[in-house]
Amino acid sequence: MKKLFRIVSLSLMLSLMLVIGVRVVSAQGSTIVIGWEQEPSQLSPASDMAFASYMTNFYQRGHVEFYGNNAEITPLMITEIPTVENGMVVTTDAGATQVTYTLREGMLWSDGTPITSADCLVGHRLYSDESTGSFQRGTYLEQVASVEAVDDFTFVMTYKAAFPDYLVDATPQCGWPAHILNPLLDAGTQLQDMPFMSPAGATSFVGYGPYVISEWRVGEQVTFSRNPNWGNNPWEQAPAIDNIVTRFIFDASQMRNALEVGDIDMAFNWPVSDAGAYNALADTFVWSTPGVFQDALWLNMQPTDSSAASQAMADVNIRKALIHALDRQKYITTLLDPDGTLGIKVPANYFHPNWVPEDVQPLAYDPDLALDLFADAGWTDTDGDGVLDDGNGNPFLIRAYTTTAQIRLDFLTLMQADLAAIGVTMQFFGVPGGTVLFASYEERGIISTGDFDMTLFALSFDPLSPNITPEWFTCDAIRVPGGSNGYGFCNPDFDALIPQIATTVDATARAELYHSAARLLSEGQFWHGLFPRNTFYAVNSAKFNPDSMVDMGVLTGNYFNRVEYWTPAN
């Protein structure tokens, strides 16, 4: 009897577990679930978190959109892109850029209110008045003089000086509905304190985009549903997918598991080291898009160390020889892209590929040429010990520094072997990034003070603008407080190009300028790309059509801005 009781109890327990374990196939309809590794603090287009700004593309669009990996520009809220040629961009008598924008007629906020020029004035009010709250104004205050409405659908934005980046920086802010924000601002409420900015009030956020926020389960997910007031105009692509759910999964391996078991349909921003595991999943399409960081080698042109090898780095041919000795594409294949499916290539220049002329290419792997260049400079293996020397008993021994990131140390390990093969000894060190490698000049940071022969790190660029960060490249930033140019690149011609690029409005003339800048950087032979930091995606290709998704855009907050074009699998 006891035994029977036990068997029955055990069977009941197992049945219960199976019943609970049976997957409930709920009416998912067309819902895509995206694994998101971090929960934003607030769903604000002015949020401090990049991840939130990607999410913003679901429910809040700007006046223009930058689609695709090459940043193709498309007017969204305006009738046409203002250019000098179409007369919508003019220079005032004071030399300032003035841009006229014409809003499309028929656009509606998600609550049904028409969008007019008055809404673009709210953005100006927010960005030009610091009492409206603390958030990302960027250079808006420095650049913009005024925004004035001409009529319900036309407004004019006047900058304080010539400003060619009017489409990508200090742009009109037409994403805030006047009928909602103005009363709150009049009452002295700061943007971040407005009720729709917190998770509890997020569903009342009024925006202009293909989706609206329909639910925010704190710590778990945010759900976006079709915006009923989007899709009525030809320029508003009605989304083919009814709902988007961003599901917060903080652990990278769990992200992959969640995709594998079907808890999510898309995983993104996972580490390159997981590419193989994602590729191995059934019904999974994996791809990547370029980011804004490129890991690169930075060679010291003005050595501080008194050793013969360090001093030799001042010779451009020695710097070229070192790079010719490195098979950089092999490192990528070995460490990042074993089967070549990710298509990762050695970057040609510090600038985003959009700003680099075609004739600027990475130095080829050619160890024989490297040896010739060393020999021409007086470095040969005179004593037959396999190490190059200068004939005075000084071996070619250099020091390389990077952060403690394992991938960088792995790259340096492979480089060390290639250099050893031609007789160059390289010692490398992984040091803390923030406190040692990138510390300021005053704090005796390795880069800022130039205390290295070679260093490996990534510096970001703006893929939408060829503007240059002076403190990393100009002559007056070499080893001084506030300067980061420890590698000693100094070219007065290059320095002169920086303000010209920043203020030349004519597109053709500007292209010539930044192509010249790219060439000068290349001729310096101090920057040599190793690998681009791509962003990686994986999607369930049995449920969704990857062809509709692969064009994700460049990383400037406009990821996911083609989400309305995504389609379910046939």
């Binding site: 577990m17 199976l18 609970i20 374990g21 049976v22 997957r23 409930v24 709920s26 009416a27 998912q28 819902t31 679930v33 971090q38 929960e39 603090s41 607030q42 401090d48 610091e130 603390s134 958030f135 990302q136 104004r137 960027g138 250079t139 205050l141 420095e142 304080k160 971040q192 917190s198 998770p199 389960r217 704190v218 710590g219 778990e220 997910q221 759900t223 709902n243 759910v245 599901r247 917060f248 999964i249 903080f250 652990d251 391996s253 769990q254 598991n257 969640a258 594998e260 078991v261 079907g262 808890d263």
Partner: protein, 384 residues
């Protein structure tokens, strides 16, 4: 007893103060939560100064501690915000001004603005009134990462943690006692040895390994084998009405992971205590008096055998409040553990300190409760 409880509570006050001071200063020296704002070109210097002032980050450390304790709503801070608009030499916003001088300028919109010229740069002088009331007045501050009051942030996730923790604990108690008693009554039997083997294996495994293995087996592999499989993250499915069944499915793996190791450990304690007790004289006497075996085991023996367990559980229960950090992280459970890790990563000190303070209070309280329970369970124990 009343005096004893009062004495213990009073003794806890300096302890909590010491813990608070240590954690506060450790967190404050761990780094600057708003440091990255300095690297973000989208944030102006003025916005950065304002943001830092809102959290009092530029005050001296002792002042920050004082603000956290008693608040700063009794004072205002003077802020000098750089004016970005162009200024020609010797003027600010078109008004002549001398170096080091403060003048009040009437702006185009009619408002007056105190302006300062310092080192050739124009500043807008503003006074920011403090708003914090301090923990002694029930204000635990605002979360820097979330921009909301700490209690609101914690309140949003605490129920999730309690649900997971209490459920896990019920499972732990049920299985630990059942298995421990079962093993003690069948010492050295096949099942005793089998359970002992599994207990040692589980006790020696870190919880993240148990979690990852359980995900691999019960979710990934079960799906491959065509069996019913379990969800691996979150509390509810994506499209759900919040049903209890859906919640239960999501709880199976996290509860299993939390409980497995604890059950293995606790059951060993129960087994050992029971073995000691069931061979004692008073149990033999009970048997001699003709009491039923069930009554002897569950009433007489278990009561005494559970004394060491009470101490152990008294130490463990406070951690229910704070969540199973590793388990919550792996299963993306929106609870206190996940919140703590994220706050730690983002140096959200107000959340971290409150978290630690909660844990400290819970430890003190449950230790007291444990001691009181001792007196209830063992009549020989007296507090006077």
């Amino acid at each position: 007893m009343g005096q004893y409880i009062l004495r213990r509570l009073l003794q806890a006050i300096p302890l909590l103060i010491i813990i608070t001071v240590i954690v506060f200063f450790l967190m404050k020296t761990a780094g600057d939560p708003l440091a990255e704002l300095a690297l973000d070109p989208r944030i102006t210097e003025s916005d950065r100064i304002l943001a830092r002032a809102e959290y009092g980050l530029d005050d001296p450390l002792p002042t920050q501690f004082l603000n956290w304790l008693v608040g700063d709503d009794w004072r205002s801070r003077e802020l000098q915000l750089p004016i970005q608009q162009e200024s020609t030499e010797g003027t600010c916003l078109g008004t002549p001004i001398n170096e080091g001088e403060r003048v009040t300028i009437t702006l185009d919109n009619g408002t007056e603005q105190e302006t300062l010229l310092q080192n050739g740069r124009c500043y807008r002088v503003v006074y920011l009134q403090g708003t914090a009331r301090g923990i002694l007045r029930g204000d635990f501050g605002d979360s820097i990462a979330r921009g909301r009051p700490v209690l609101e942030v914690i309140g949003a996730v605490l129920p999730n943690t309690l649900l997971l923790g209490i459920t896990s604990y019920l499972v732990i108690i049920t299985f630990a006692f059942s298995l421990g008693i079962f093993q003690a009554l069948r010492q050295y039997s096949f099942f005793d040895n089998l359970i002992t083997t599994f207990s040692f294996i589980l006790v020696s495994m870190p919880i993240f390994l148990v979690a990852l293995l359980s995900v691999y087996i019960f979710a990934v592999q079960f799906r491959k084998w065509g069996l019913p499989y379990l969800p691996v993250q979150g509390m509810y499915s994506v499209n759900t009405d919040g049903s209890v069944g859906d919640l239960a499915r999501h709880m199976i793996l996290p509860v299993f992971c939390i409980a497995a190791i604890s059950v293995a450990g606790y059951s060993r304690f129960v087994r050992a205590s029971m073995l000691e007790v069931i061979n004692s004289d008073y149990v033999r006497t009970a048997r001699a008096k003709g009491l039923g075996e069930r009554r002897i085991t569950y009433v007489h023996a278990l009561k005494n055998a559970s004394l060491p367990l009470v101490t152990l559980m008294g130490l463990d229960i406070p951690f229910i409040l704070t969540g199973a950090i590793v388990t919550e992280r792996i299963f993306s459970w929106p609870g206190m553990g996940t919140l703590f890790l994220e706050s730690l990563n983002r140096l959200d000190y107000a959340v971290v300190i409150t978290f630690v303070l909660m844990l400290a209070i819970a430890v003190v309280l449950f230790q007291l409760i444990t001691d009181i329970l001792y007196a209830v369970l063992d009549p020989r124990v007296r507090y006077s």
